[in-house]
Symmetry: C2
Subunit: 332 residues, 2 copies
Protein backbone atom coordinates (compact mmCIF):
# COMPACT_ATOMS: atom_id res chain seq x y z
CA UNK A 1 0.00 0.00 0.00
CA UNK A 2 1.34 3.40 -0.96
CA UNK A 3 1.62 5.94 1.83
CA UNK A 4 2.19 9.55 0.83
CA UNK A 5 4.39 10.18 -2.19
CA UNK A 6 7.33 7.83 -1.88
CA UNK A 7 6.59 5.18 0.73
CA UNK A 8 5.17 1.66 0.55
CA UNK A 9 3.77 -0.17 3.60
CA UNK A 10 4.06 -3.95 3.38
CA UNK A 11 0.95 -5.57 4.78
CA UNK A 12 2.46 -9.07 4.65
CA UNK A 13 5.68 -7.91 6.32
CA UNK A 14 8.36 -9.86 4.39
CA UNK A 15 10.83 -11.52 6.76
CA UNK A 16 14.61 -11.48 6.66
CA UNK A 17 15.14 -15.19 7.30
CA UNK A 18 18.81 -15.35 6.38
CA UNK A 19 21.79 -13.02 6.32
CA UNK A 20 25.53 -13.21 5.74
CA UNK A 21 28.44 -10.80 5.58
CA UNK A 22 31.93 -11.44 4.24
CA UNK A 23 34.62 -8.77 4.55
CA UNK A 24 38.28 -8.07 3.87
CA UNK A 25 41.08 -8.15 6.46
CA UNK A 26 41.01 -4.38 7.11
CA UNK A 27 37.25 -4.49 7.71
CA UNK A 28 37.72 -7.54 9.91
CA UNK A 29 40.10 -5.49 12.05
CA UNK A 30 37.54 -2.69 12.27
CA UNK A 31 34.76 -1.98 14.73
CA UNK A 32 32.49 -4.84 13.63
CA UNK A 33 35.12 -7.53 13.13
CA UNK A 34 33.59 -9.98 15.57
CA UNK A 35 30.14 -9.71 13.99
CA UNK A 36 31.02 -10.60 10.40
CA UNK A 37 30.42 -14.18 9.30
CA UNK A 38 33.68 -14.45 7.41
CA UNK A 39 36.83 -12.36 7.33
CA UNK A 40 39.04 -12.96 4.31
CA UNK A 41 42.71 -13.60 5.10
CA UNK A 42 43.79 -11.55 2.11
CA UNK A 43 41.79 -9.37 -0.22
CA UNK A 44 42.46 -11.52 -3.28
CA UNK A 45 40.36 -14.30 -1.70
CA UNK A 46 42.42 -16.91 -3.61
CA UNK A 47 41.56 -15.39 -6.99
CA UNK A 48 43.87 -14.07 -9.69
CA UNK A 49 42.26 -10.63 -9.82
CA UNK A 50 40.55 -8.27 -7.39
CA UNK A 51 37.48 -8.40 -9.65
CA UNK A 52 37.53 -12.18 -9.28
CA UNK A 53 37.73 -11.72 -5.50
CA UNK A 54 34.75 -9.36 -5.47
CA UNK A 55 32.70 -11.82 -7.49
CA UNK A 56 33.66 -14.65 -5.12
CA UNK A 57 32.59 -12.46 -2.19
CA UNK A 58 29.15 -12.05 -3.81
CA UNK A 59 28.91 -15.81 -4.34
CA UNK A 60 30.05 -16.47 -0.76
CA UNK A 61 27.52 -14.01 0.69
CA UNK A 62 24.66 -15.52 -1.34
CA UNK A 63 25.54 -19.11 -0.39
CA UNK A 64 26.06 -18.11 3.23
CA UNK A 65 22.77 -16.26 3.50
CA UNK A 66 20.83 -19.09 1.84
CA UNK A 67 22.46 -21.54 4.21
CA UNK A 68 21.73 -19.39 7.27
CA UNK A 69 18.06 -19.43 6.25
CA UNK A 70 18.12 -23.22 6.29
CA UNK A 71 17.49 -23.28 2.55
CA UNK A 72 19.33 -24.49 -0.54
CA UNK A 73 19.85 -22.41 -3.72
CA UNK A 74 16.97 -24.03 -5.58
CA UNK A 75 14.58 -22.70 -2.90
CA UNK A 76 15.43 -19.15 -3.98
CA UNK A 77 12.97 -17.76 -6.53
CA UNK A 78 15.02 -14.81 -7.71
CA UNK A 79 18.27 -12.99 -7.00
CA UNK A 80 18.43 -9.18 -6.87
CA UNK A 81 21.95 -7.81 -6.92
CA UNK A 82 24.15 -4.95 -8.02
CA UNK A 83 27.55 -3.41 -7.40
CA UNK A 84 29.81 -0.51 -8.33
CA UNK A 85 31.77 -2.06 -11.17
CA UNK A 86 31.05 -1.13 -14.77
CA UNK A 87 28.09 -3.21 -16.00
CA UNK A 88 27.79 -4.60 -12.43
CA UNK A 89 30.00 -7.55 -13.38
CA UNK A 90 30.51 -8.78 -9.81
CA UNK A 91 26.78 -9.43 -9.51
CA UNK A 92 26.11 -10.69 -13.03
CA UNK A 93 29.08 -13.06 -13.13
CA UNK A 94 28.24 -14.31 -9.64
CA UNK A 95 24.63 -14.88 -10.74
CA UNK A 96 26.02 -17.17 -13.46
CA UNK A 97 26.98 -19.64 -10.72
CA UNK A 98 23.39 -20.04 -9.56
CA UNK A 99 20.51 -21.61 -11.45
CA UNK A 100 18.24 -18.78 -10.23
CA UNK A 101 16.47 -15.97 -12.16
CA UNK A 102 18.37 -12.71 -11.77
CA UNK A 103 17.59 -9.01 -11.80
CA UNK A 104 20.51 -6.60 -11.93
CA UNK A 105 19.98 -3.35 -10.03
CA UNK A 106 22.17 -0.29 -9.88
CA UNK A 107 21.95 2.34 -7.20
CA UNK A 108 25.68 2.70 -6.46
CA UNK A 109 26.11 2.49 -2.67
CA UNK A 110 22.32 2.59 -2.16
CA UNK A 111 22.05 -0.90 -3.66
CA UNK A 112 21.48 -2.85 -0.42
CA UNK A 113 18.42 -0.76 0.39
CA UNK A 114 17.32 -0.79 -3.27
CA UNK A 115 17.40 -4.60 -3.47
CA UNK A 116 15.56 -4.90 -0.12
CA UNK A 117 12.91 -2.35 -1.14
CA UNK A 118 12.26 -3.97 -4.53
CA UNK A 119 12.54 -7.46 -3.02
CA UNK A 120 10.04 -6.61 -0.28
CA UNK A 121 7.55 -5.46 -2.96
CA UNK A 122 8.03 -8.69 -4.90
CA UNK A 123 7.48 -10.82 -1.77
CA UNK A 124 4.66 -8.69 -0.36
CA UNK A 125 2.83 -8.73 -3.69
CA UNK A 126 2.84 -12.53 -3.62
CA UNK A 127 5.06 -12.86 -6.69
CA UNK A 128 7.95 -14.72 -5.06
CA UNK A 129 8.43 -16.55 -1.75
CA UNK A 130 12.19 -16.39 -1.24
CA UNK A 131 14.43 -13.67 -2.63
CA UNK A 132 18.18 -13.18 -2.22
CA UNK A 133 19.21 -9.50 -2.01
CA UNK A 134 22.92 -8.93 -2.34
CA UNK A 135 25.58 -6.32 -2.98
CA UNK A 136 29.33 -5.94 -2.63
CA UNK A 137 32.26 -3.62 -3.09
CA UNK A 138 36.04 -4.04 -3.06
CA UNK A 139 38.58 -1.35 -2.28
CA UNK A 140 41.01 -2.42 -4.97
CA UNK A 141 38.50 -2.78 -7.82
CA UNK A 142 36.77 0.50 -7.03
CA UNK A 143 40.00 2.41 -6.53
CA UNK A 144 41.44 1.50 -9.91
CA UNK A 145 38.13 1.91 -11.73
CA UNK A 146 37.07 5.23 -10.25
CA UNK A 147 40.32 6.83 -9.17
CA UNK A 148 43.93 5.79 -9.72
CA UNK A 149 45.92 2.58 -10.22
CA UNK A 150 46.83 1.29 -6.76
CA UNK A 151 50.47 1.12 -7.83
CA UNK A 152 50.54 4.90 -8.11
CA UNK A 153 50.34 5.18 -4.32
CA UNK A 154 48.31 8.34 -4.71
CA UNK A 155 47.73 10.60 -1.72
CA UNK A 156 44.14 10.70 -0.52
CA UNK A 157 42.45 14.03 0.18
CA UNK A 158 41.06 14.52 3.71
CA UNK A 159 37.40 14.40 2.60
CA UNK A 160 37.80 11.03 0.90
CA UNK A 161 36.34 7.76 2.12
CA UNK A 162 37.75 4.26 1.99
CA UNK A 163 35.81 1.84 -0.22
CA UNK A 164 34.93 -1.10 1.97
CA UNK A 165 35.87 -4.61 0.85
CA UNK A 166 32.70 -6.39 1.85
CA UNK A 167 29.61 -8.22 0.63
CA UNK A 168 26.27 -8.68 2.34
CA UNK A 169 23.24 -10.75 1.46
CA UNK A 170 19.75 -10.99 2.98
CA UNK A 171 17.13 -13.63 2.24
CA UNK A 172 13.65 -12.13 2.16
CA UNK A 173 10.78 -14.52 2.61
CA UNK A 174 7.01 -14.57 2.78
CA UNK A 175 7.21 -17.08 5.66
CA UNK A 176 9.46 -17.94 8.55
CA UNK A 177 10.99 -16.08 11.45
CA UNK A 178 13.18 -13.05 11.41
CA UNK A 179 13.07 -9.27 11.35
CA UNK A 180 10.33 -7.87 9.09
CA UNK A 181 10.65 -5.29 6.35
CA UNK A 182 7.58 -3.21 7.08
CA UNK A 183 8.07 -0.12 4.88
CA UNK A 184 10.21 1.18 2.05
CA UNK A 185 10.76 4.76 0.91
CA UNK A 186 12.01 5.13 -2.66
CA UNK A 187 14.38 8.03 -3.23
CA UNK A 188 14.66 10.68 -5.91
CA UNK A 189 17.89 11.66 -7.63
CA UNK A 190 19.16 14.80 -5.88
CA UNK A 191 22.05 16.95 -7.05
CA UNK A 192 23.21 20.07 -5.25
CA UNK A 193 26.13 20.66 -7.56
CA UNK A 194 29.04 18.99 -5.79
CA UNK A 195 31.86 18.40 -8.30
CA UNK A 196 34.54 17.09 -5.93
CA UNK A 197 34.67 13.33 -6.53
CA UNK A 198 36.67 13.01 -3.32
CA UNK A 199 33.78 14.33 -1.27
CA UNK A 200 31.05 11.74 -1.74
CA UNK A 201 29.60 12.42 1.71
CA UNK A 202 28.68 15.99 0.81
CA UNK A 203 27.34 14.86 -2.58
CA UNK A 204 25.06 12.22 -1.05
CA UNK A 205 23.84 14.11 2.05
CA UNK A 206 21.12 16.10 0.18
CA UNK A 207 19.64 12.89 -1.26
CA UNK A 208 19.69 11.35 2.23
CA UNK A 209 17.86 14.40 3.53
CA UNK A 210 15.34 14.24 0.68
CA UNK A 211 14.45 10.58 1.33
CA UNK A 212 14.47 10.96 5.12
CA UNK A 213 12.12 13.97 5.05
CA UNK A 214 9.87 12.15 2.54
CA UNK A 215 9.81 9.14 4.87
CA UNK A 216 8.88 11.13 7.97
CA UNK A 217 6.20 13.08 6.07
CA UNK A 218 4.74 10.00 4.35
CA UNK A 219 4.59 7.95 7.53
CA UNK A 220 3.86 10.75 10.02
CA UNK A 221 6.80 9.62 12.14
CA UNK A 222 9.72 11.51 13.62
CA UNK A 223 13.34 10.53 14.33
CA UNK A 224 12.51 9.56 17.92
CA UNK A 225 10.07 6.88 16.68
CA UNK A 226 13.02 4.71 15.65
CA UNK A 227 15.44 2.88 17.92
CA UNK A 228 18.03 3.50 15.25
CA UNK A 229 18.28 5.53 12.05
CA UNK A 230 21.28 4.28 10.15
CA UNK A 231 22.56 5.74 6.87
CA UNK A 232 24.70 3.88 4.35
CA UNK A 233 28.03 5.51 3.96
CA UNK A 234 27.87 9.26 4.26
CA UNK A 235 30.99 9.11 6.37
CA UNK A 236 31.92 11.58 9.08
CA UNK A 237 31.53 14.73 7.01
CA UNK A 238 28.43 13.62 5.09
CA UNK A 239 26.58 12.51 8.19
CA UNK A 240 27.33 15.84 9.87
CA UNK A 241 25.99 17.60 6.78
CA UNK A 242 22.88 15.43 6.99
CA UNK A 243 22.35 16.32 10.66
CA UNK A 244 22.54 20.02 9.73
CA UNK A 245 20.24 19.66 6.72
CA UNK A 246 17.68 17.76 8.77
CA UNK A 247 17.78 20.37 11.51
CA UNK A 248 16.97 23.01 8.87
CA UNK A 249 13.94 20.89 7.97
CA UNK A 250 12.81 20.71 11.59
CA UNK A 251 14.04 17.20 12.41
CA UNK A 252 16.66 16.67 15.08
CA UNK A 253 18.74 13.53 14.51
CA UNK A 254 19.88 12.55 17.97
CA UNK A 255 21.91 9.75 19.54
CA UNK A 256 19.75 7.21 17.71
CA UNK A 257 21.33 8.31 14.43
CA UNK A 258 24.50 6.76 13.07
CA UNK A 259 26.23 6.07 9.76
CA UNK A 260 27.77 2.79 8.61
CA UNK A 261 30.62 4.55 6.82
CA UNK A 262 31.53 6.47 9.94
CA UNK A 263 31.41 3.35 12.13
CA UNK A 264 33.08 0.72 9.92
CA UNK A 265 36.74 1.39 10.72
CA UNK A 266 38.68 2.26 13.87
CA UNK A 267 40.23 5.71 14.03
CA UNK A 268 43.74 4.30 13.99
CA UNK A 269 43.00 2.57 10.68
CA UNK A 270 43.03 6.05 9.11
CA UNK A 271 40.00 5.74 6.85
CA UNK A 272 39.79 9.56 6.73
CA UNK A 273 36.03 10.28 6.49
CA UNK A 274 35.18 6.60 6.96
CA UNK A 275 34.08 3.66 4.86
CA UNK A 276 32.09 3.72 1.64
CA UNK A 277 31.04 1.30 -1.10
CA UNK A 278 27.95 -0.86 -1.48
CA UNK A 279 29.41 -3.48 0.84
CA UNK A 280 29.82 -1.07 3.76
CA UNK A 281 26.19 -0.77 4.83
CA UNK A 282 25.37 -4.21 3.37
CA UNK A 283 27.86 -5.99 5.61
CA UNK A 284 26.94 -4.06 8.77
CA UNK A 285 23.22 -4.62 8.13
CA UNK A 286 23.69 -8.32 7.49
CA UNK A 287 25.73 -8.90 10.64
CA UNK A 288 25.61 -6.42 13.51
CA UNK A 289 22.26 -4.73 12.79
CA UNK A 290 20.20 -7.83 12.06
CA UNK A 291 21.76 -9.58 15.08
CA UNK A 292 20.82 -6.66 17.33
CA UNK A 293 17.26 -6.68 16.01
CA UNK A 294 17.01 -10.42 16.58
CA UNK A 295 18.34 -10.08 20.12
CA UNK A 296 15.76 -7.39 20.87
CA UNK A 297 18.20 -4.53 21.38
CA UNK A 298 16.57 -2.70 18.47
CA UNK A 299 12.86 -3.12 17.80
CA UNK A 300 12.52 -0.77 14.86
CA UNK A 301 15.26 0.63 12.67
CA UNK A 302 15.31 2.81 9.57
CA UNK A 303 18.03 1.59 7.24
CA UNK A 304 18.85 4.07 4.49
CA UNK A 305 21.65 3.39 2.03
CA UNK A 306 22.95 6.30 -0.02
CA UNK A 307 24.55 6.22 -3.46
CA UNK A 308 26.55 8.65 -5.60
CA UNK A 309 25.50 8.12 -9.21
CA UNK A 310 28.59 9.40 -10.97
CA UNK A 311 30.89 7.72 -13.49
CA UNK A 312 34.42 8.67 -14.54
CA UNK A 313 33.07 9.70 -17.96
CA UNK A 314 30.48 12.00 -16.38
CA UNK A 315 33.14 13.55 -14.14
CA UNK A 316 35.60 14.02 -16.99
CA UNK A 317 32.87 15.80 -18.92
CA UNK A 318 32.47 18.28 -16.05
CA UNK A 319 29.30 16.86 -14.55
CA UNK A 320 28.29 17.25 -10.92
CA UNK A 321 27.62 14.26 -8.65
CA UNK A 322 23.96 13.28 -8.19
CA UNK A 323 22.97 11.19 -5.18
CA UNK A 324 20.14 8.86 -4.32
CA UNK A 325 18.97 7.24 -1.09
CA UNK A 326 16.48 4.46 -0.54
CA UNK A 327 15.21 3.49 2.92
CA UNK A 328 13.61 0.44 4.51
CA UNK A 329 12.09 0.06 7.94
CA UNK A 330 13.06 -3.17 9.63
CA UNK A 331 11.16 -4.29 12.74
CA UNK A 332 11.50 -7.11 15.15
CA UNK B 1 0.82 -15.23 -9.13
CA UNK B 2 3.83 -17.38 -9.83
CA UNK B 3 3.44 -19.96 -12.57
CA UNK B 4 6.09 -22.66 -12.80
CA UNK B 5 9.65 -21.66 -11.96
CA UNK B 6 10.25 -18.32 -13.62
CA UNK B 7 6.93 -16.81 -14.69
CA UNK B 8 4.51 -14.38 -13.04
CA UNK B 9 0.90 -13.96 -14.18
CA UNK B 10 -0.53 -10.50 -13.53
CA UNK B 11 -4.11 -10.78 -12.37
CA UNK B 12 -4.69 -7.00 -12.61
CA UNK B 13 -3.16 -6.82 -16.11
CA UNK B 14 -1.15 -3.56 -15.94
CA UNK B 15 -1.83 -1.38 -19.01
CA UNK B 16 0.65 0.35 -21.27
CA UNK B 17 -1.12 3.70 -21.44
CA UNK B 18 1.72 5.69 -22.98
CA UNK B 19 4.71 5.05 -25.21
CA UNK B 20 7.36 7.04 -27.04
CA UNK B 21 10.41 6.31 -29.16
CA UNK B 22 13.17 8.71 -30.18
CA UNK B 23 15.92 7.56 -32.56
CA UNK B 24 18.98 8.76 -34.44
CA UNK B 25 19.10 9.68 -38.14
CA UNK B 26 20.40 6.25 -39.26
CA UNK B 27 17.58 4.51 -37.37
CA UNK B 28 15.12 7.00 -38.81
CA UNK B 29 16.25 5.93 -42.27
CA UNK B 30 15.78 2.27 -41.34
CA UNK B 31 12.80 -0.05 -41.63
CA UNK B 32 10.74 1.57 -38.87
CA UNK B 33 11.48 5.22 -39.64
CA UNK B 34 7.87 6.22 -40.13
CA UNK B 35 6.78 4.67 -36.83
CA UNK B 36 9.16 6.47 -34.48
CA UNK B 37 7.82 9.50 -32.65
CA UNK B 38 10.92 11.58 -33.17
CA UNK B 39 13.94 11.23 -35.44
CA UNK B 40 16.94 13.30 -34.38
CA UNK B 41 18.48 15.40 -37.14
CA UNK B 42 21.97 14.61 -35.90
CA UNK B 43 23.15 12.20 -33.26
CA UNK B 44 24.48 14.93 -30.96
CA UNK B 45 20.91 16.12 -30.39
CA UNK B 46 22.19 19.65 -29.74
CA UNK B 47 24.45 18.52 -26.89
CA UNK B 48 28.19 18.92 -26.51
CA UNK B 49 28.83 15.20 -26.01
CA UNK B 50 27.32 11.93 -27.22
CA UNK B 51 26.71 11.05 -23.57
CA UNK B 52 24.77 14.28 -23.22
CA UNK B 53 22.76 13.32 -26.31
CA UNK B 54 21.95 9.88 -24.89
CA UNK B 55 20.76 11.43 -21.65
CA UNK B 56 18.61 13.93 -23.55
CA UNK B 57 17.12 11.02 -25.51
CA UNK B 58 16.12 9.36 -22.22
CA UNK B 59 14.56 12.61 -21.00
CA UNK B 60 12.76 13.09 -24.33
CA UNK B 61 11.39 9.54 -24.30
CA UNK B 62 10.14 9.89 -20.71
CA UNK B 63 8.47 13.26 -21.34
CA UNK B 64 6.99 11.99 -24.62
CA UNK B 65 5.60 8.82 -23.08
CA UNK B 66 4.10 10.67 -20.12
CA UNK B 67 2.52 13.16 -22.54
CA UNK B 68 1.16 10.41 -24.79
CA UNK B 69 -0.55 8.93 -21.72
CA UNK B 70 -2.28 12.25 -21.13
CA UNK B 71 -0.39 12.66 -17.85
CA UNK B 72 2.14 15.08 -16.43
CA UNK B 73 5.39 14.09 -14.69
CA UNK B 74 3.97 14.50 -11.18
CA UNK B 75 1.40 11.77 -11.98
CA UNK B 76 4.26 9.27 -12.31
CA UNK B 77 4.92 7.37 -9.09
CA UNK B 78 8.30 5.95 -9.97
CA UNK B 79 10.77 5.74 -12.85
CA UNK B 80 12.54 2.47 -13.72
CA UNK B 81 15.44 2.91 -16.11
CA UNK B 82 18.83 1.62 -17.13
CA UNK B 83 21.31 1.73 -19.99
CA UNK B 84 24.67 0.42 -21.19
CA UNK B 85 26.95 3.16 -19.96
CA UNK B 86 29.16 2.65 -16.93
CA UNK B 87 27.09 3.32 -13.78
CA UNK B 88 24.04 3.77 -16.09
CA UNK B 89 24.68 7.51 -16.22
CA UNK B 90 22.22 8.18 -19.04
CA UNK B 91 19.37 6.98 -16.85
CA UNK B 92 20.52 8.40 -13.53
CA UNK B 93 21.39 11.84 -14.88
CA UNK B 94 18.11 11.93 -16.81
CA UNK B 95 16.26 10.97 -13.62
CA UNK B 96 17.76 14.07 -12.00
CA UNK B 97 15.53 16.18 -14.28
CA UNK B 98 12.37 14.68 -12.85
CA UNK B 99 10.98 15.05 -9.36
CA UNK B 100 10.10 11.33 -9.35
CA UNK B 101 11.45 8.41 -7.28
CA UNK B 102 13.91 6.38 -9.33
CA UNK B 103 15.14 2.81 -9.46
CA UNK B 104 18.18 2.06 -11.60
CA UNK B 105 18.17 -1.35 -13.28
CA UNK B 106 20.88 -3.02 -15.29
CA UNK B 107 20.27 -5.88 -17.67
CA UNK B 108 22.34 -4.61 -20.61
CA UNK B 109 20.17 -4.87 -23.74
CA UNK B 110 17.51 -6.81 -21.80
CA UNK B 111 16.66 -3.63 -19.87
CA UNK B 112 13.39 -2.76 -21.65
CA UNK B 113 11.92 -6.13 -20.73
CA UNK B 114 13.47 -5.96 -17.25
CA UNK B 115 11.88 -2.58 -16.48
CA UNK B 116 8.51 -3.74 -17.84
CA UNK B 117 8.64 -7.01 -15.87
CA UNK B 118 9.57 -5.31 -12.59
CA UNK B 119 7.20 -2.41 -13.31
CA UNK B 120 4.31 -4.78 -14.00
CA UNK B 121 4.93 -6.46 -10.61
CA UNK B 122 4.95 -3.08 -8.85
CA UNK B 123 1.67 -2.04 -10.52
CA UNK B 124 0.00 -5.44 -10.23
CA UNK B 125 0.88 -5.68 -6.53
CA UNK B 126 -0.90 -2.37 -5.94
CA UNK B 127 2.25 -0.51 -4.90
CA UNK B 128 2.22 2.16 -7.62
CA UNK B 129 -0.37 3.38 -10.13
CA UNK B 130 1.77 4.90 -12.88
CA UNK B 131 5.31 3.80 -13.69
CA UNK B 132 7.65 5.02 -16.41
CA UNK B 133 9.87 2.26 -17.85
CA UNK B 134 12.70 3.53 -20.00
CA UNK B 135 15.97 2.58 -21.63
CA UNK B 136 18.31 3.92 -24.29
CA UNK B 137 21.53 3.34 -26.17
CA UNK B 138 23.72 5.43 -28.46
CA UNK B 139 26.10 4.12 -31.11
CA UNK B 140 28.80 6.64 -30.38
CA UNK B 141 28.80 6.30 -26.58
CA UNK B 142 28.73 2.50 -26.69
CA UNK B 143 31.35 2.24 -29.40
CA UNK B 144 33.94 4.27 -27.54
CA UNK B 145 33.15 2.74 -24.18
CA UNK B 146 33.09 -0.92 -25.21
CA UNK B 147 35.24 -1.00 -28.32
CA UNK B 148 37.41 1.64 -29.97
CA UNK B 149 37.49 5.44 -30.25
CA UNK B 150 35.33 6.37 -33.23
CA UNK B 151 38.22 8.38 -34.65
CA UNK B 152 40.18 5.16 -35.13
CA UNK B 153 37.82 4.18 -37.96
CA UNK B 154 38.23 0.56 -36.95
CA UNK B 155 37.05 -2.20 -39.28
CA UNK B 156 34.05 -4.12 -38.00
CA UNK B 157 34.09 -7.92 -38.08
CA UNK B 158 31.24 -9.60 -40.00
CA UNK B 159 29.55 -10.98 -36.86
CA UNK B 160 29.31 -7.57 -35.21
CA UNK B 161 26.12 -5.60 -34.67
CA UNK B 162 25.50 -1.88 -34.85
CA UNK B 163 24.51 -0.28 -31.53
CA UNK B 164 21.22 1.49 -32.12
CA UNK B 165 20.92 5.18 -31.25
CA UNK B 166 17.46 5.09 -29.74
CA UNK B 167 15.43 5.45 -26.56
CA UNK B 168 12.03 4.03 -25.72
CA UNK B 169 9.71 4.59 -22.79
CA UNK B 170 6.44 2.93 -21.75
CA UNK B 171 4.02 4.15 -19.09
CA UNK B 172 2.56 1.26 -17.12
CA UNK B 173 -0.67 1.93 -15.27
CA UNK B 174 -3.19 0.22 -13.06
CA UNK B 175 -5.98 1.97 -14.94
CA UNK B 176 -6.79 3.26 -18.40
CA UNK B 177 -6.74 1.85 -21.88
CA UNK B 178 -3.92 0.21 -23.74
CA UNK B 179 -2.21 -3.11 -24.29
CA UNK B 180 -1.91 -5.20 -21.10
CA UNK B 181 1.20 -6.81 -19.66
CA UNK B 182 -0.24 -10.18 -18.68
CA UNK B 183 2.85 -12.24 -17.84
CA UNK B 184 6.56 -11.90 -17.24
CA UNK B 185 9.27 -14.54 -17.33
CA UNK B 186 12.45 -13.68 -15.44
CA UNK B 187 15.64 -15.00 -17.00
CA UNK B 188 18.71 -16.72 -15.60
CA UNK B 189 22.27 -15.79 -16.46
CA UNK B 190 23.42 -18.24 -19.13
CA UNK B 191 26.98 -18.59 -20.41
CA UNK B 192 28.03 -21.07 -23.06
CA UNK B 193 31.60 -19.84 -23.20
CA UNK B 194 31.60 -17.35 -26.08
CA UNK B 195 34.67 -15.11 -25.80
CA UNK B 196 34.28 -13.15 -29.04
CA UNK B 197 33.01 -9.72 -28.00
CA UNK B 198 32.14 -9.07 -31.64
CA UNK B 199 29.63 -11.90 -31.64
CA UNK B 200 27.00 -10.83 -29.13
CA UNK B 201 24.26 -12.70 -30.99
CA UNK B 202 25.87 -16.05 -30.35
CA UNK B 203 26.60 -15.09 -26.74
CA UNK B 204 23.00 -14.13 -26.03
CA UNK B 205 21.17 -16.87 -27.97
CA UNK B 206 21.52 -19.52 -25.21
CA UNK B 207 20.00 -17.15 -22.63
CA UNK B 208 17.15 -16.40 -25.05
CA UNK B 209 16.59 -20.13 -25.44
CA UNK B 210 16.68 -20.64 -21.68
CA UNK B 211 14.02 -18.00 -20.98
CA UNK B 212 11.86 -18.98 -23.95
CA UNK B 213 11.81 -22.65 -22.96
CA UNK B 214 11.08 -21.68 -19.34
CA UNK B 215 8.22 -19.49 -20.53
CA UNK B 216 6.65 -22.20 -22.68
CA UNK B 217 7.02 -24.79 -19.91
CA UNK B 218 5.74 -22.51 -17.15
CA UNK B 219 2.71 -21.34 -19.14
CA UNK B 220 2.01 -24.55 -21.08
CA UNK B 221 2.04 -22.58 -24.31
CA UNK B 222 3.84 -23.16 -27.59
CA UNK B 223 5.23 -20.73 -30.21
CA UNK B 224 2.02 -20.91 -32.26
CA UNK B 225 0.03 -19.49 -29.33
CA UNK B 226 1.53 -16.06 -29.99
CA UNK B 227 0.82 -13.74 -32.91
CA UNK B 228 4.39 -12.63 -32.60
CA UNK B 229 7.48 -13.71 -30.65
CA UNK B 230 9.99 -10.91 -30.84
CA UNK B 231 13.50 -11.02 -29.40
CA UNK B 232 15.55 -7.97 -28.47
CA UNK B 233 18.67 -7.79 -30.52
CA UNK B 234 20.10 -11.18 -31.30
CA UNK B 235 20.71 -9.98 -34.84
CA UNK B 236 20.77 -12.18 -37.91
CA UNK B 237 23.25 -14.73 -36.64
CA UNK B 238 21.95 -14.84 -33.07
CA UNK B 239 18.35 -15.30 -34.10
CA UNK B 240 19.33 -18.15 -36.42
CA UNK B 241 21.22 -19.74 -33.54
CA UNK B 242 18.09 -19.33 -31.37
CA UNK B 243 15.90 -20.99 -34.02
CA UNK B 244 18.30 -23.96 -34.08
CA UNK B 245 18.55 -24.17 -30.29
CA UNK B 246 14.76 -24.07 -29.92
CA UNK B 247 14.34 -26.77 -32.54
CA UNK B 248 16.68 -28.98 -30.48
CA UNK B 249 14.34 -28.38 -27.53
CA UNK B 250 11.29 -29.38 -29.57
CA UNK B 251 9.95 -25.90 -30.33
CA UNK B 252 9.69 -24.71 -33.91
CA UNK B 253 9.93 -20.92 -34.23
CA UNK B 254 8.04 -20.13 -37.42
CA UNK B 255 7.07 -17.04 -39.38
CA UNK B 256 5.68 -15.49 -36.19
CA UNK B 257 9.22 -15.16 -34.84
CA UNK B 258 11.34 -12.10 -35.51
CA UNK B 259 14.18 -10.12 -33.95
CA UNK B 260 14.37 -6.36 -33.44
CA UNK B 261 18.10 -6.28 -34.16
CA UNK B 262 17.62 -8.06 -37.44
CA UNK B 263 14.75 -5.78 -38.49
CA UNK B 264 15.97 -2.35 -37.38
CA UNK B 265 18.12 -1.39 -40.38
CA UNK B 266 17.79 -1.80 -44.13
CA UNK B 267 20.24 -4.12 -45.81
CA UNK B 268 21.86 -1.26 -47.73
CA UNK B 269 22.64 0.47 -44.42
CA UNK B 270 25.23 -2.27 -43.87
CA UNK B 271 24.58 -2.98 -40.20
CA UNK B 272 26.29 -6.39 -40.64
CA UNK B 273 24.38 -8.71 -38.25
CA UNK B 274 21.85 -5.97 -37.45
CA UNK B 275 21.10 -3.57 -34.64
CA UNK B 276 21.87 -3.97 -30.95
CA UNK B 277 21.78 -1.87 -27.80
CA UNK B 278 19.06 -1.33 -25.19
CA UNK B 279 17.34 1.21 -27.44
CA UNK B 280 16.90 -1.21 -30.33
CA UNK B 281 14.07 -3.34 -28.95
CA UNK B 282 12.88 -0.46 -26.73
CA UNK B 283 12.25 1.86 -29.68
CA UNK B 284 10.60 -0.81 -31.85
CA UNK B 285 8.37 -1.91 -28.96
CA UNK B 286 7.36 1.63 -28.11
CA UNK B 287 6.42 2.52 -31.67
CA UNK B 288 5.71 -0.20 -34.24
CA UNK B 289 4.81 -3.08 -31.90
CA UNK B 290 2.51 -1.21 -29.51
CA UNK B 291 0.83 0.50 -32.48
CA UNK B 292 0.18 -2.85 -34.13
CA UNK B 293 -1.26 -4.25 -30.91
CA UNK B 294 -3.50 -1.22 -30.52
CA UNK B 295 -4.69 -1.52 -34.12
CA UNK B 296 -5.56 -5.18 -33.56
CA UNK B 297 -3.01 -6.64 -35.96
CA UNK B 298 -1.40 -8.47 -33.06
CA UNK B 299 -3.53 -9.71 -30.17
CA UNK B 300 -0.82 -11.38 -28.12
CA UNK B 301 2.93 -10.95 -28.39
CA UNK B 302 5.88 -12.28 -26.44
CA UNK B 303 8.50 -9.54 -26.14
CA UNK B 304 11.86 -10.86 -24.98
CA UNK B 305 14.86 -8.54 -24.73
CA UNK B 306 18.30 -10.12 -24.47
CA UNK B 307 21.41 -8.73 -22.83
CA UNK B 308 25.12 -9.53 -22.85
CA UNK B 309 26.46 -8.94 -19.35
CA UNK B 310 30.11 -8.30 -20.16
CA UNK B 311 32.35 -5.35 -19.35
CA UNK B 312 35.66 -4.38 -20.92
CA UNK B 313 37.42 -5.29 -17.66
CA UNK B 314 35.86 -8.77 -17.65
CA UNK B 315 36.86 -9.28 -21.29
CA UNK B 316 40.41 -8.06 -20.72
CA UNK B 317 40.68 -10.52 -17.85
CA UNK B 318 39.80 -13.36 -20.24
CA UNK B 319 36.20 -13.85 -19.17
CA UNK B 320 33.49 -15.30 -21.38
CA UNK B 321 30.28 -13.39 -22.18
CA UNK B 322 27.21 -14.30 -20.08
CA UNK B 323 23.76 -13.48 -21.39
CA UNK B 324 20.34 -12.90 -19.89
CA UNK B 325 16.86 -12.59 -21.35
CA UNK B 326 13.64 -11.40 -19.73
CA UNK B 327 10.26 -11.76 -21.41
CA UNK B 328 6.86 -10.12 -21.08
CA UNK B 329 3.58 -11.10 -22.70
CA UNK B 330 1.64 -8.11 -24.04
CA UNK B 331 -1.99 -8.58 -25.03
CA UNK B 332 -4.60 -6.40 -26.60
Amino acid sequence: MKLGNQTIVFKNRPKIIGNYAVVGPKEGAGNFGSYFDYVMKDDRFGEKTYEGAERKMVETAIVGAIDSAGLIPKNIDILLAGDLLNQIISSSYAARSFDIPYLGLFGACSTMAETLAVGACLVDGGFFNNIACCTASHFSTAERQFRFPLELGNQRPPTSQWTTTAAGCSILSSKGNGPSVTMATFGKVTDWGITDVNNMGAAMAPSAMSTLVAHFEDTHTRPEDYDLIVTGDLGKLGSEVLIDLMEDKGYKLGVNYCDCGQMMFRREQKPLMGGSGCGCSASILNSFLINKIKSGQYKKILFMATGALLSTTATQQGETVPGIAHAVVIER
